[in-house]
């Protein structure tokens, strides 16, 4: 039984030139949302499998790199151009040398990927459906069908998606959806950043097809909709070095805890701690399990109260007494 299966339709090859050494230094890694989630889950001690497509020369390299990291790969191998990027960070700033979307997936590739996910999910505790960077790689409807079929198989499904893909996944039904307030704003689900608005948007997402919804808000307590309950999860604010990847760290820590049978609240608290810690370092999807557990002790979870005062006097309480009509 694998702890976590990740559907990563098209893992990337990432090539980065860094300036730490005179003359420069070349870093070659596998990347993409699903890969970053997988890497973080490995750091947290989970067993991880990826179902994805691996295309052409870059795909071969990516497959090997994943294997070296202890990630079990169930590949759909094909010829053609795989997704990749080449960045130059020698000046300290990131310059994009090339960003290649790669070839879209054919019907046949999709069918193979689909079958692989359903098959491998039977031997996993929990599944993450992740999205490739590029919009055109696979149709959104795949997410709806996968979510629905995985739920029918009884496997918990977690998603960190946005836009039409998220809508599709919700239509199929997921166990937990993670979104950011920035994504909600872009989708015009919220206008400002008040807790009430975010809670309302979260409830709409829940109603659209998620058992629970977690909404991250940069520098603010995150909102958790868990059935009827709306909660605020606060974590001490850390000095920001690099905010990239905090959402992935959060999601990985949540999934890791759920795979270990912890309660949703405990998992979210750990995720909040992981996300907060991630901003203190460079390197997407890195983490320190010990530090996460220590910081978790300072995470607080509270119910989001009504607009009415949460404090009443006994007189006010008595005044609220009313006889119900039959």
């Amino acid at each position: 039984m694998t702890d976590v299966l990740i559907f990563a339709p098209a893992p990337l090859l990432t090539v980065t030139l860094e300036g730490d050494h005179p003359g420069g230094d070349l870093h070659v890694h596998s990347g993409g949302q699903g890969v970053w989630q997988a890497r973080m889950l490995r750091t947290l001690g989970r067993t991880v499998a990826i179902v994805g497509s691996f295309t052409g020369e870059s795909g071969r390299v990516v497959q090997h790199l994943l294997g070296d990291e202890g990630i079990e790969v169930h590949p759909v191998v094909r010829t053609g151009r795989g997704p990749a990027y080449v960045h130059d960070r020698r000046t300290g700033q990131r310059t994009v040398v090339a960003e290649l979307a790669g070839d879209p997936l054919s019907r046949h590739d999709l069918d193979e990927l689909y079958a692989a996910v359903l098959r491998e999910a039977m031997a996993a505790r929990i599944v993450i459906l992740s999205g490739p960077a590029d919009e055109g790689i696979l149709p959104d409807d795949v997410y709806r069908r996968l979510a629905a079929d995985l739920r029918a198989e009884g496997v918990p499904v977690v998603v960190d998606l946005a836009g039409a893909r998220l809508e599709a996944a919700l239509a199929g039904g997921v166990t937990l959806a993670k979104v950011s307030d920035a994504e909600l704003r872009e989708a015009r689900e919220i206008r400002g950043d008040s807790v009430d608005e975010v809670v309302a948007a979260g409830r709409r997402l829940r109603d659209a097809g998620a058992r629970s919804v977690v909404i991250t808000r940069a520098g603010e307590p995150l909102v958790l909709i868990d059935g009827e309950h709306a909660r605020l999860v606060r974590v001490p604010r850390m000095q920001e070095v690099d905010p990239n990847g905090a959402g992935d760290s959060l999601l990985a820590a949540v999934v890791s805890a759920l795979a270990e049978d912890r309660s949703l609240l405990e998992a979210i608290a750990l995720g909040a701690a992981a996300g907060a810690l991630n901003v203190t370092r460079h390197g997407l999807g890195t983490g320190d399990p010990e530090a996460i557990h220590r910081l978790r002790a300072r995470v607080t979870v509270e119910e989001v109260g009504d607009d009415d005062a949460q404090v009443v006097t006994p007189d006010q309480l008595a005044a609220r007494a009313e006889v119900d009509d039959r």
Binding site: G227, R234, H293, A297, V312, T313
Partner: protein, 251 residues
């Protein structure tokens, strides 16, 4: 080695509970954590809990940093304390440590407090009790659980050395330096502050704080001292007997 039960009414996921358990462990006590699976604020010493089949259901939990048995129990805190006193979790605890509650429990209003109810139950069953509450106020920026727990740690040994039946109610201001405070002996305010649950809807309701600090003139009351930024300590008694009124007292 003394055994203590850690419970609360904010529920098993409460960081206040975890902080209290951690200091009890650090103090070298034998610790069992058993707390409501969901919030039970305002349950007083109610022993609501058994399911339709008449059994009290609980599940084992792993709580990060607490290497002791932990149980999420579908019951109010006082029931948890009661069954603990009758061996439900192994050795009968020498003391019930209840908290750290999110919100003060002060004044005579603690009659309605689940946190205090569990502590009182500990005292009624041949053990002792300590209720610990953090005065978070309306919109806390941070929750200083660890500081409050460190303060509570200093009371554990004296509590265990006290006679069975001793029940203490400790309230701590929400300050990062609370560990350095000396808890001051306090009387109970006329009403005070207590937490309750409004609108029980399915899995549990919304938390409501009921407070009345009007007519509070005694400087030595828990309400006055807490408002002045002090930690307060009161030895409280549970249900007891007193003299019958004249006219009813002839035997």
């Amino acid at each position: 080695m003394s055994t203590v039960l850690i419970t609360n009414d904010d529920g098993i996921d409460s960081p206040g509970l975890h902080a209290l358990a951690a200091v009890a462990i650090d103090e070298g006590l034998e610790v069992v954590v058993a707390a409501p699976a969901s919030e039970a604020s305002g349950s007083s010493a109610s022993i609501i809990g058994a399911d339709h089949d008449g059994h009290v259901h609980m599940s084992r939990r792993e709580i990060a940093g607490l290497d002791v048995p932990c149980y999420a129990v579908r019951a109010a805190p006082a029931l948890i304390a009661l069954i603990a006193a009758h061996g439900a979790f192994g050795d009968v605890p020498d003391a019930v440590l209840s908290g750290i509650n999110r919100g003060a429990n002060i004044g005579h209003a603690v009659l309605h407090s689940g946190t205090v109810g569990a502590a009182l139950t500990g005292g009624s069953s041949g053990g002792r009790g300590l209720a610990v509450s953090l005065d978070v106020g309306m919109h806390p920026v941070a929750h200083e659980w660890d500081a409050a727990a460190a303060l509570a740690r200093g009371i554990l040994r004296p509590l265990l050395a006290a006679v069975p039946g001793t029940v203490l109610n400790l309230n701590v201001p929400n300050r990062a330096d609370a560990a350095g405070l000396r808890p001051e002996p306090a009387t109970l305010a006329p009403f005070g502050i207590v937490q309750t649950t409004a609108a029980e809807a399915g899995e549990g309701g919304v938390r409501l704080t009921v407070a009345d600090l009007e007519g509070e003139h005694d400087e030595r009351s828990d309400a006055s001292l807490l408002a002045a930024g002090r930690a307060t300590l009161t030895a409280i008694t549970a249900v007891g007997e007193t003299a019958l009124p004249d006219g009813l007292s002839r035997s």
